[in-house]
Structure formats: C-alpha cells, structure tokens
C-alpha cells in the first residue's frame, strides 16, 4: 500500500505542486488520514480555508497554491481537514490553472475513458430506444417492428439466454465447473468459522480456510470470475460476522483487512471483465489472498505473544 505522505518532495516549490496534484486527484482522503497521524491537533487552528487564506483565496483559485505564502501550505499540511474544503473550492470554482495541474492518481485516465465509453453507449441507447421531445419523427414511427430497438434487444437477450443455456449444459459435462456464487469452501464453509476457542486458533483457522483458494486453479475467465466472487462472498461473511473469540481491537482489525481484500478482489473482477488475461488476474488475486493469509497468521502470532506476555 502506497504511503502518499512519504512521497512529498523535499523542494518546497515541488511540494506545493505535489499538494496541488492531490487536490485534483483521487487519493486526497488517504493523504489526509496520513497527515492526521503525523500532526497532532494544533493548538491554534483556522476554522475555514477562507479564514486561513483570507484575501488570497481568489488568487489561489485562479493561480494555484504557489501564489499563497509558504506558511499557508505548511498550515494546510498541519490542519489537513481544511484540504477537503479547499478541494471543493478548487474543483467547483477553480480557474483554468487547476485544469493543468497533474494528478498523482494513475487510474484517473482509465476511469475517465471507461466512463466515457459507458456514457456513449448509454446516450446512444437512450437516443435510439427512447426518442425525447414531443415531436416523434414520422420516419421513426414507420420503422417496422422487428427493426425497433426493443425487439432487437429482446431478440438479442433471448439468443444470449439460449446460447448461455447451451453453454451451461456443455460446461456441466466438462471437468472445469464455474458454478454459481454460492459455495461451501473457504470462509463459506459453515464449520470454518468456529464460535469459540482462543483468538490465535480462531485466526489460524480463518487463514487455513482462506488457503483453500489455492486448491483450484481455474484458467478460464468465467470459472476464475466465479472463484473470485465466491472468495469475495466469504469476505462479506467475515465482515458481517461477530467474531466472538476476538477482542474489539482484533475484530476491527480483521474487518478492515477483509474490506481491503474485498476491494482488491472487486478490482480483479473488474479487470477480468474488462478483458485482462485470466492467468494474470489469477496471479494478482493469488497475491491479494496470500497477503491476507500472511497478515492473519501474523496477527495470530501477535495475539499469542501478547497473551503469553
């Protein structure tokens, strides 16, 4: 996991640009969380960006933070919650300068491109399927029924359903079965979540159950997607369970770990659905799950040593 704060450049001017990059990027909340850890609450604080920047606020919105005094940047780093307010002002009222600021978020371009394609498809479908305005074109009314979008969509759906049924029937007879997302392995196995017993043993059994991931090695996209979704379902179970044997702190830790893992699995699924190679995605999922298992086992050891100590 990247720690943004440790990437802050030494050079003050570069540090200012780096902070600007975070204001227009996707990781500001993580940076703020890190800054809050480093800087204990200051005694004298400005209550708003307006108060901190005063007359310079408009200049900052027009020309960036370089126009503010260095102390202002320093103050923002020490009172990071103000960064949320500044971000909103920059995004909603900032001038052209802010359009040219380079963000540190590498995935923003991909998200924008994917979003653009989805939006194109959506407005095209809406335009073709549901003409807006009151004046429907006479030509449109004359389009014969089997060429109308609703019929084409229905026909496509029916064909796909048929094809899928045939495929499923065929697949059931082959060795590799993707199955539905309701499994009985790993954390979905009823016995894999004991309700009692000491915390270290409980954590180790969770780690052991997670290792079942490696017992099947799907190579086809659909089978891999199902396998990931099944593991992801197990994460949900863990996130929503009470974990009686664990202390509050350990329970909280476990849930956070599971959430992190679940978020990563969601990404792997998205990558697979976007067409990335199944073997590559499987390797990435392996790593995610391996990290989780390692973390759970390490936690179990920590809990053991605390109990003994």
């Amino acid at each position: 996991m990247k720690t943004h704060l440790l990437e802050m450049p030494d050079n003050p001017a570069e540090a200012t640009r780096w902070l600007e990059g975070h204001l227009v990027g996707l990781d500001l909340s993580e940076l703020v969380a890190e800054l809050l850890a480093v800087h204990p609450a200051p005694q004298e604080t400005a209550t708003s960006v307006q108060e901190l920047l005063g007359d310079r606020l408009d200049d900052v919105l027009d020309r960036g933070l370089a126009d503010a005094a260095p102390e202002v940047v320093s103050e923002l780093l020490r009172q990071p919650l103000l960064l949320f307010e500044l971000q909103e002002l920059v995004l909603t009222k900032g001038g052209d300068y802010w359009n040219r600021v380079r963000t540190h978020s590498k995935d923003i371009e991909t998200r924008l491109e994917t979003g653009r394609q989805r939006l194109t498809a959506l407005v095209t479908t809406q335009s073709q399927g549901k003409p807006e305005g009151n004046q429907a074109s006479p030509k449109a009314l004359l389009i014969i029924w089997y060429r109308r979008p609703w019929f084409v969509s229905l026909a496509t759906a029916a064909t796909m359903l048929l094809a899928f049924s045939v495929y499923e029937a065929f697949r059931a007879s082959t060795t590799e079965t993707a199955g539905s997302v309701s499994s009985t392995w790993g954390w979905n196995k009823p016995t894999s979540r004991p309700l009692d017993g000491p915390a270290p043993a409980y954590l180790n059994r969770l780690a052991e159950a997670a290792e079942e991931w490696f017992s099947k090695r799907p190579e086809k996209p659909l089978a891999l997607a199902t396998r990931i979704a099944e593991f992801r379902q197990g994460c949900s179970k863990l996130i929503l369970s009470t974990h009686e044997p664990l202390s509050d702190e350990d329970r909280r830790w476990l849930i956070v770990r599971c959430r992190l893992c679940a978020a990563k699995l969601d990404k792997h699924l998205a990558a697979l659905e976007a067409g990335r190679g199944p073997l590559q995605v499987r390797d990435e999922a392996d790593q995610t799950i391996r990290d989780l298992i390692k973390a759970i086992r390490a936690r179990a050891e920590e809990v053991t040593s605390c109990t003994i100590g």
Partner: protein
Amino acid sequence: MAIDFAFLLIRSRFGPRLGVMVTNLDTAPRSDAEMARIVASRDSSPKAMIEAQETLGHLYQRHGSKLLAFLSTRVRRSDLDDIHQEIWSRVWSRLPEGFDGKDFRGWLFKIARNLLVDRSRKKHPAPLEDHVENLVDPLGNRPDARLIDEERRAALKRCLEQLDARSRELVQRRLGGEDYPAICQRLGLTSAMAHRIFHEAKNRLKNCLERALT
C-alpha cells in the same frame, strides 16, 4: 443529402464501439454554457442527436476528472465509477429542462450533491435535515473507506512512535512543510545530517507501514 444521412447513421451506430464520442471537430474552445445549450436543445433528428452526444463528450472531457476527484472523497472507491456515470446520465436527461443556461459547472456539482443526498437518504430512511452539508460529510458518507483510512492513520502513528524522538520531530516538521534550514536551526543539525536522518526515518516508516498494512 443521402450521403450526409448515411454518414450520420454510421457514426451513431458504430461511433460508440470505436469510442468516438469526443471528436475534435471544433478548433476554438466553446464555453460551457454554449455547449450545454446544444445538448439541451437537441431534438430527435439524427444530426441533432449526434451533435448533442459529441458536445456532451466535450463537457465530460472538460469536467469529468474534477467530478471524479470530488466524488473520491465522498463515496467508496468501488462505487466511484457507477456514481460518476449516474451523474452524467442525469446531466444528459436533465439538461433540456433543468439547466438555467448560466453556470454549467455549478449545476453539474449540484446534481452530484443531490445524487449523494438521494443515496444517503436511501441508506438512512429518516434524514435529519434537508441540508446537504449535514447529510454529505466528506468522510462520513463512506464508512468502510473511513475505517480503512483510520487503520492507515493508526498504523502510521504507531510506526512514527517507534522512531527516536529526534527523527520523529524532524519527520513531523518536514512533513508539516517546514524547510531544512529552519529545521536545522531548530534542532541544531547540519543540513547533511538532517537529510540523512530524514531519509533513514522515511525508509523505516515505509518498512514499518508495509508490515502493518499488508
């Protein structure tokens, strides 16, 4: 005429598959209001529809990244793309009647806030008040992301506490934006020594965090 129509038809049918919503047909940048007007005044003719789609693409290109950044501090990362999409879908459908023709960016972010409020109300059926500020707390609307941020914060704090007092103070001052000359003066260090201590401390923090968060 027939060729024009065929051209428009091909673009409307295959454009999306080729990812050509945004085409740089115009040379001089148009204002937001001008583009919003084009999208808003579309009728059902193929020509108007395609022009509206392309113009929406330009608006998206101009404001999409800002909107994503805005949403990133308010929603879970896994919901980010869907919500972003939903907002642009609302823009397309509401521009004809909902936009007053003045400040498109202000209107876009208003749509975003309203959507977040709608989602917040769905999650909490009995809203306390109608004010957006009260419903959409920058971090409060994403509880599990907040949990992860808290974990990150706690881990960093623990790692920082493991540093010796001098290194810790140096790191805190440096990451608080203080420059090296001021730090050296305050801590009685030479510049070379301050740089060395800081970089060593940074490496230790990185290793410690890696252990704590993976």
